[in-house]
Amino acid sequence: MLTRREFLKLCTTALATATLTDRLMPIMSQGFAAGKISKPPVIWLELGSCTGNSIALDNAVNPNLNQILTDMVDMRYNWLLNVVQGSEVVKVLQDTAEKEAGNFWLVVEGSVMTADNGRYNHIYMRDNQLVTGLTALQELAPKAKHIIAVGTCACFGGPSAAYPNPAGAKGVWEVIKQPVINVPGCPANPDWMTGIFSHLIMYGLPELDGYNRPKMFFGQTIHDLCQRRQQFEDGIFASFPGESGCLYKVGCKGPVTHADCPKRQWNHYVNWPVRAGAPCIGCVNPGFPDSSMPFYNHLPDLATPLGMLNIKKFGAAAAGLGAAAVGAHLITGVVGKRVGKHWLDGTNPNEPDPPENLEQLKQELDDLIRQQNALISESQALEQVRIKRRLPKTFRQKVVDFFRPGQKHRR
């Protein structure tokens, strides 16, 4: 049997050549045969969703849907697949929940509608009473062994919860007390779903981050893994989606999005958005889509060693102060003479959102000047700090330094 460490390594390096489950399925079926592990019963609840995650799971390649159903999980209730309908399928759901209490997995797709006490989403009928998604979830959750939210809607509300959120959509973990494993994405990559399922079967709970996302898939930013990262470093920016160069300026949310899309890619590893010239829209992020919109506008702020920096400041600073104030990326770029002529081309204000009228243009200019001044004063303040540091230490300072815990040789 594969050790957990080996498994995680497989997951994090899953590439087109070494697919996750080419190696995993034999091991799992051995495990099933030897009775070491058993097929978990699964209740797949679909609430306020677009069925996209079910379709994404249908798109799974290694293993494919058929293998998932026969070799991996025991899909008892999933209304997209169940053959019986109406009262018979409700009976299946209730039987599973009672007989397999404490043993079944609850997979939730779609956000929970809470407006009007959940009455915007009924999912079945029990004893001639309509049951809301909210009630069903709250009843099933305490009995489940694991609760897995698939898709950004189930995790954080997602598109269903976009402003003004007329149906009061919420993520699963906001309405129940039990721990939830969040597998976000719009839709979630089938590899992420099958990866989590296999980890749960073989090793139990995976390591989660602050948003309860498994670290093995959501541990690094898209930006860190991106194949266009070098162009960002070199200051080669696309001025329209589809052009070559880093897509940061045309709205790529890669720097703030934690997912392994660049490595894993989509649909049997044929493509992924940034490779196809489409900026990342940050669909695994908790605030998606509101936090990512407008999709084709650059991020408002970028964290740098000098505080938050946005692309306009980036340009202004380059003109006003030279590269020194703009952060480590650029310094290395300039020193290495990599920035060169691309610097100018790349930061021309050829932006997709031109000012609508003269008023706005003026305002934008004012903003720019204000930001530029702020940067200048900030960098001057830095200079002063540095000057201060060079002054010889007084005796008192030396005494204080001597008794200060931690690093003592700082100059």
Binding site: V84, P159, C186, N267, A276, Y296
Partner: protein, 463 residues
């Protein structure tokens, strides 16, 4: 005789409650209620008009491509841009792959188990004690094909991802084309997948549907409905905009007529919305959700064309284009869908041959300050329209009328049933089968309620 309820109707997209009244072994009345409200259109207000394609496709996971394509069309009109020839071809290719995927999945994952005994494992057990008429050998063969079909559908989505970056929820469609390049390598990838899928569809899909038709001949007489068919047409050609599949209207099984979009109205007497007017076009004011409305039984509204309930989908396109005109029934819908899949495969092959590799797949553009646009196309399930208007780079309203809204509309203000409600009338039902016959009729329309439920907020339908 009491009204019987099926809730949930399984193997369709999203929650549907069906109430049917049975007398003497036949359905005499039906009510179909969708039970999910999200209000996607109201969310679009105030957003950037360029985001419409990416945002609206999140209405639906199975037909995401359709919403992106039609939003792209609306944007083209509003922004005053046209796609490059290559861009238009790529959009069509993307959409074609999505439709092929949908049709394969609809038949082999959703519909098949109405007629074929599935494997003896969950979720295919328990199965209803109903009439499964296929001999064991044929049954086993179809199950084998279902496995292969599921993989072919995956391949079709791969083809979509070749130009769409990912599927479902592609990310590359912009008003002037597609951000992915039409490089030789990409075209070859698409072409090879298409080749494989086309061969499979040709060899098995149509034959499988016909096999089922042979054993279930009575379904040629079940699920007829009104015989009003409508299509917006699909796959515009580059530059000319002429559509590969034509738009048109057929009233009561008559001749093909011209379609005038101004005759479309939406009515809400039996839907859970309050409105000052029960019927709008043009209309002012707001529609607000009201779950407590006593007359209401669904979140779907009742769109009507000149007060007529109309049906859309592959069968309607078959009739309007003359590809399939045998009749209107459960089986005819399934056969028309299979034949259309092959036709779309062939069309896609033609577009691939027309593309000149490495020509621009889009042109950069800057949207004007304000504008209005309409996008109309047929999607997998029927006629789909997006109407939108924006002022100062903010969407002021957005309206979507989807195929399932047409097909699964409730009664209108005059009490006339929606197309599927009507199609259910007269369906013979056996005792103790838990209304599987009604399920067969409903599934033949390929319902998708994530799309159907929407919130009208437009002041008018511009054309």
């Amino acid at each position: 005789m009491a009204v019987q309820t099926i809730f949930p109707v399984t193997r369709i997209h999203e929650p549907l409650r069906a109430d049917v009244e049975v007398q003497n072994g036949r359905i005499v009345d039906a009510w179909l209620g969708a039970h999910l409200f999200r209000g996607m259109e109201s969310m679009l207000t105030g957003r950037d008009p360029r985001d419409a394609a990416l945002f609206t496709q999140r209405i639906c996971g199975i037909c995401s491509g359709a919403h992106a394509v039609v939003a792209g069309m609306a944007q083209q009109q509003a922004f005053g841009v046209t796609p490059t020839p290559t861009g238009q071809h790529l959009i069509n290719l993307l959409f074609a792959a999505d439709i092929i995927q949908n049709h394969l999945r609809h038949f082999y994952i959703l519909v098949l188990y109405d007629y074929v005994k599935g494997p003896d494992m969950a979720p295919y057990t328990p199965r209803p004690q109903a009439d499964f008429r296929l001999p064991l050998k044929v049954n086993a063969e179809l199950l084998q094909h279902a496995k292969e079909a599921a993989l072919q559908a995956v391949r079709a989505h791969e083809a979509m991802a070749v130009f769409g970056a990912k599927a479902p929820m592609q990310q590359t469609i912009i008003p002037t084309g597609v951000t992915e390049q039409a490089s030789v390598e990409r075209l070859m990838a698409y072409s090879s997948i298409l080749q494989e899928v086309t061969e499979w569809v040709e060899k098995f899909f149509i034959a499988d549907v016909m096999t089922i038709a042979d054993y279930y001949k009575d379904y040629y007489d079940i699920g007829g409905g009104y015989g009003n068919l409508m299509s917006f047409g699909m796959f515009p050609a580059p530059l000319t905009g002429e559509r590969a599949l034509k738009a048109g209207l057929i009233v009561n099984r008559g001749q093909v007529e011209e379609l005038d979009i101004n005759h479309i109205t939406e009515e809400v007497r039996y839907s859970w919305y309050t409105d000052e007017e029960e019927r709008r076009r043009p209309a002012a004011g707001r529609t607000t959700p009201d779950r407590n409305k006593s007359d209401g039984y669904t979140w779907v509204k009742a769109p009507r064309y000149q007060e007529l309930p109309v049906e859309g989908g592959p069968l309607a396109r078959g009739f309007i284009n003359g590809d399939y005109r045998r009749g209107i029934s459960v089986l005819d819908r399934l056969i028309a869908r299979a034949k259309e899949t092959l036709k779309i495969c062939r069309l896609a092959q033609g577009w691939l041959n027309e593309i000149v590799p490495n020509t621009p797949s889009f042109i950069p553009f800057t949207p004007p300050d304000s504008g209005t646009g309409v996008g109309l196309t047929d999607a997998m399930r029927g006629a789909l329209g997006h109407w939108f208007e924006y002022r100062h780079n903010k969407v002021t309203h957005y309206q979507i009328v989807t195929p399932t809204t047409w097909n699964f509309s409730p009664r209108d203000n005059r009490g006339i049933r929606g197309p599927v409600e009507q199609a259910l009338i007269g369906t013979p039902v056996a005792d103790g089968a838990n209304l599987i016959e009604a399920g067969r009729v409903i599934r033949s329309f390929d319902p998708c309620f994530t799309c159907a439920v929407h919130m009208l907020e437009a002041r008018s339908l511009h054309c």
